[in-house]
Amino acid sequence: MYYLDPHIHMVSRVTDDYETLAKMGCVAVSEPAFWAGFDRGSVDGFRDYFRQLTEFETKRASWYGIQHYTWLCINAKEAENVSLSREVIAMIPEFLDKPGVLGIGEIGLNKNTKNEATIFLEHLDLAAKTDELILIHTPHLEDKYQGTRMILDMLNDDRRLEHHRVLVDHVEEHTIRAVLDDGYWAGMTLYPTSKCTPERAVDMIEMYGPERLMVNSAGDWGPSKPTAVPDFILAMRLRGHGESLIRRVVYENPVKFFSQSRNFDFTPPETYEAVG
């Protein structure tokens, strides 16, 4: 089955992973900007990272016929450095018209601090002024519930934002309802240690239905599995769900959400033409 991975950090993966994803039916990936595992020292470090995301990763994905899209921001962890964050936010517009840039993300909270919230609000302001889509990271483990509620408070407070243009990622059993009830899109992240399993993701589809819901691998430099979306597809089949419901979640939903961005020039695989 063709699918998209709406949240995966390919800069942390080897080229062989692109090949594996392509063989498993992945036709497009969307890659949010995130923490590199260390704090970057200057705005130029981020400028180089954004060039990697918008130039080289697009090329590397294309070697395997995968369409690559991306999101730009300074992540919640590095947002503790407020002055650097403001320099990065001021620099982001240099890249917003590059092909494949879908919006601002993954912004959010990590430890739910004052500085993180301050920089989150400033990213929301940038997204509102530039009319960009928003992709949101919610914290892990004991911080997730509190952080997700804080994020929803900030989103709901900003009357300029259209809820159907915001994707809140890493939802779990205790946060999914509030996100969907407020009209946002929600992403379930299948991750071996800190997040959700394919079986629990199927449970949430059964409980909440497929509307505005997606699944992703969040594959990154940690112990993660870039092929988690195919794992979900198999789990759905084993639980007796039909192909059209599965396709809705792993293909049609991400295409529908991303299509709200002017830079989503997606070519559906059904229309691929033989070359030569």
């Binding site: 739910n112 301050t118 609000l121 997730k144 519930y145 509190q146 408070d153 059993e173 205790h174 589809i205």
Partner: protein
């Protein structure tokens, strides 16, 4: 949304897995008992006990309640208590 499998099918499929996970939990708790030292006043143990009660109860939405049990509380006044200021 209706779920395709009925209760008997779910139980057939998951019985051995649930049994294995119960054993995993039981062995972890035994290991804790056998280890030197005392952790009986560690708040994490109280959470584990409360979690086991949620599992043993008849009420549904156990996964959501376990998640909330292990979550920091949300304070609706957080903007004020953290002192977050909005620019512009």
């Amino acid at each position: 949304m209706p779920i395709p499998l009925d209760a008997a099918e779910v139980l057939n499929r998951e019985f051995l897995e649930i049994r294995a996970r119960l054993l995993h939990l039981a062995a972890s708790l035994d290991r804790l008992d056998r280890a030197e030292g005392a952790v009986h006043d560690d708040p994490r143990l109280a959470k584990i006990r409360a979690g086991l009660e949620i599992l043993g109860g008849v009420e549904s939405e156990r996964a959501e309640r376990i998640q909330l049990l292990f979550s920091r509380p949300y304070d609706a006044n957080w903007v004020k208590s953290l002192g977050v200021e909005r620019r512009g």
